[in-house]
């Protein structure tokens, strides 16, 4: 059963996701960052869907469990494509969009194969195990990809502040989730902290994206080398 804390964080997170769409719409960034906004819209829909199933079937029901993990899997794939769209923004002038898309699909297939390799010995609920495993692996792949993208930003001297903040916040989000999953696997724990933490981390991405859309104009510029940990 969910407590008042979980319901409150859930509500805040959903409102923040709506806020991202509203901010993007108000600042004319809805089409420019279309995949990012599709991801946020999907998150809102999933959130409403989860709440409906929770209300009708309960937290411990099989319906909620399946819906939770399968929707999380779909959202992770969408976020992966959102990240790919950030690649397209950075490499737009080099006209390598086709290669970026192909690379993303190859990487997604590779992660799916690897995840299948990990879970294929499970005799029961193979698909469910696969869905959970691939979601966790995609977070780590997403983290590595975001780091590569950040390196490209520094190398190509990308100056668009909003884009830089979107990339950095996505990197933070992926790294927090990857660290959380790794800790969970390392300690094989179902401690309450591992239930509370992902919910809080989940609020960070819509919060930072809403901030980037609302506060930073599209023409704002930053010298990226000043942001690197080791000044260049």
């Amino acid at each position: 059963m969910l407590g008042p804390y979980q319901y409150t964080v859930w509500l805040i997170c959903t409102l923040l996701e709506v806020a991202v769409l509203v901010c993007a719409f108000k600042k004319n960034a809805l089409r420019r960052y279309l995949v990012l906004n599709i991801y946020m819209a999907a998150s809102v829909v999933v959130s409403i869907g989860r709440f409906n199933i929770l209300r009708h079937s309960g937290y411990d029901s099989r319906e909620y469990l399946y819906f939770y993990y399968y929707s999380d899997f779909l959202l992770t794939i969408l976020l992966f494509f959102a990240l790919t769209s950030l690649y397209s923004h950075i490499f737009a002038e080099l006209e390598v969009g086709r290669y970026v898309r192909t690379g993303a699909l190859v990487l997604l297939s590779g992660t799916a194969l690897f995840s299948y390799g990990v879970v294929h010995q499970s005799a029961t609920r193979l698909v469910t195990h696969f869905v959970v495993e691939i979601s966790q692996n995609l977070y780590f792949v997403g983290l590595v990809l975001t780091y590569v993208l950040w390196a490209a930003v520094l190398k190509l001297r990308e100056t668009r502040t909003r884009l830089i903040q979107l990339i950095l916040s996505t990197g933070l989000y992926f790294s927090m989730f990857a660290a959380n999953y790794a800790l969970q696997n390392l300690y094989q724990s179902r401690a309450p902290i591992f239930e509370y933490l992902p919910q809080l981390i989940g609020c960070f991405l819509p919060l930072s994206w809403a901030y980037a859309f609302w506060r930073l104009p599209e023409d704002a510029r930053t010298v990226p080398s000043r942001l690197a940990m080791v000044p260049r």
């Binding site: 780590f140 830089i164 903040q165 950095l168 790794a182 390392l186 901030y211 506060r215 010298v223």
Partner: protein, 133 residues
């Protein structure tokens, strides 16, 4: 083993992204010139010292909160604590780290002063609206 490697990589990259993200928040405010009255109140002219941070934050907490900057102030506060931690540990052994943390702490203080300026003008706007009503 694998989970350990993933955890180590994630934490290292998390730190990298966190530092860069906080710097991107700070950089946006570093170009803003402080008004003479905020300069008087905070004692900060063009550059700030890390020692000013605590005082400016106390002043900041006296003003009504703006929902828009809550997130960035919290992130920069966490960044400032991390810098303090580095300053009292690693920076004692590595002198270049000492200089770097001092500069960064000064940027955090300047960021707080800019946030203070925004809060003051926000309070003024609110007061003006109430007077009109």
């Amino acid at each position: 083993m694998m989970a350990g490697i993933i955890l180590a990589c994630s934490v290292v990259l998390l730190l990298q992204f966190f530092v860069s993200y906080c710097r991107s928040l700070i950089t946006a405010s570093s170009r803003q010139v402080l008004s003479p009255e905020v300069q008087d109140v905070t004692g900060i002219q063009r550059t700030a010292s890390g020692d000013d941070y605590k005082r400016v934050m106390q002043l900041l907490q006296l003003c009504p909160e703006r929902p828009e900057d809550r997130n960035s102030i919290q992130a920069v506060s966490a960044y400032f604590k991390m810098l303090n931690c580095l300053r009292s540990t690693v920076a004692r052994i590595v002198p270049s780290m000492q200089a770097w943390t001092d500069v960064e702490r000064g940027h955090c203080a300047y960021f707080a002063a800019v946030a203070l300026e925004r809060r003051i003008s926000f309070s003024r706007d609110m007061l003006a609206q109430q007077m009109d009503a």
